[in-house]
């Protein structure tokens, strides 16, 4: 009896320390998510102004740029999957990967081959385990992406897209990431990044905010030339920021339920331990009483 009681106590203890860890992780995720949201907010002005500028050029000049040209017959596509570096975030990475599988299935159905580009160690591990080829992967910035990281990824993808004949030349670029809707809802989303659809701006200029007739220096084409790559990079940066916020939200949720679970377990184990202790005491008493009775009986018999 005493052995199992000690066992239960040990189990309670280990659950308690586990609870402390998950609780701490929950709090860390909660504080980081605020920072991630702030970062997303402070990146918004740049994206907004850039979108404005792109739509200004698109409105007042004939947009015919390699980055916006629809390929006539696309054979190869690149797919960038944004996952997390660390686990313990519930179904975060696996739901992105599932969404990516779905997209890949669809693209394969259209007879296209897929080049996979990855962000985050979880996605890397997933592909390595299945022995699937990956063109390139980047890790180490999933929960606080820097613009430089987005720049590097963007440049690689743009190069692959503009490349006509190379080994990794592609005709389309898709991005799969998790969109941050709210603290409770994060959606895995797949979007086509390239070729660009310029007029799809999320905030269309309202009618009273008509775009003025711009002068372009040195020329509309030159402006567009340097504008579009930055636009692509800012879209990728946006995806990274959303993914980071989603990852932290998912982690907070997962850790909260882990903490709650640990609480339940501690309660359950405490009950069982108390029961075991009580059973031990009862048995001891009944043994003593039994012994005393036996002694009394023996004495009564001898007299």
């Amino acid at each position: 009896m005493a052995v199992s009681l000690r066992e239960y106590r040990a189990r309670i203890k280990s659950t308690e320390s586990m609870k402390k860890i998950t609780r701490a992780m929950e709090l860390i995720a909660a504080s980081r998510i605020i920072k991630a949201q702030q970062r997303a907010q402070s990146a918004a002005p740049y994206a907004r102004e850039l979108t404005r500028a792109v739509s200004a050029v698109a409105t007042y000049s004939n947009v015919d740029h390699p980055l916006t040209r629809e390929p006539e017959n696309s054979q190869r596509v690149a797919m960038l999957i944004v996952t997390s570096d660390r686990g313990l975030a519930g179904a975060y990475s696996s739901s992105v990967l599932k969404e990516a599988e779905r997209l890949a299935e669809k693209l394969r159905g259209e007879g296209k081959t897929i080049d996979v580009y990855l962000c985050g160690r979880k996605g890397e591990a997933y592909h390595r385990f299945r022995n699937r080829p990956v063109v390139r992967s980047w890790t180490g910035f999933s929960d606080q992406p820097s613009y430089d990281a987005a720049l590097e990824v963007g440049t690689t993808l743009i190069d692959a897209f503009l490349d006509e004949e190379g080994e990794h030349a592609v005709d389309e670029v898709h991005v799969v990431y998790t969109r941050f809707r709210s603290m409770l809802l994060q959606e895995p989303t797949a979007v086509r990044l390239l070729p660009l659809e310029v007029v799809e701006g999320e905030e269309r200029p309202s009618s009273d905010d008509v775009l003025p007739l711009y002068e372009f220096e040195p020329s509309p084409e030159a402006v567009l030339d340097s504008l579009l790559p930055q636009y692509v990079q800012s879209r990728i940066f946006f995806a990274f920021l959303q993914a980071a916020a989603s990852e932290l939200a998912a982690r907070q949720k997962a850790m909260k339920s882990a903490t709650d679970n640990a609480d339940e377990l501690i309660k359950k184990y405490t009950r069982i331990a108390n029961q075991a202790r009580q059973a031990g005491i009862t048995q001891e008493i009944s043994e003593i009483v039994g012994g005393v009775n036996a002694l009394a009986d023996a004495q009564a018999g001898s007299e």
């Binding site: 102004e49 820097s146 613009y147 007739l213 711009y214 220096e217 030159a222 402006v223």
Partner: protein, 133 residues
Amino acid sequence: MAESGEHLHVELVAADRTVWSGEAEMVIARTTEGDVGVLRGHAPLLSVLTDAVVEISSAEGGVVVAAVDGGFLSVANDRVSVLSQRALLPEEIDVDEARVELEEARGLIGANDEAERRLRRAEARIRAVERAS
């Protein structure tokens, strides 16, 4: 857009933050075509910047200087936005680091475009600090 006063509304935005925003008298920036100064009532303009210094004479009388790594200048309805992937205010610039970078880039010059770019960026940073002090 209802413009309130006799000043330009300027926003200096980097990729991950707003570096400076407020009312200003004048903005001077270096485009690929040369320096351009923007006052109130400027015609709508969208131009490409080089790696250089942007000067904003703010309405309160001070001058804000920033080193930008390329980017755009867009002017419309007395609203000026300077967009750059990276924009640094003088107090954020490490002059010594920029000097080292400058020397290093000078040594590599002619090797590739990247070196020239680094040289221009380092120069812009040093100039920004010098102008501010």
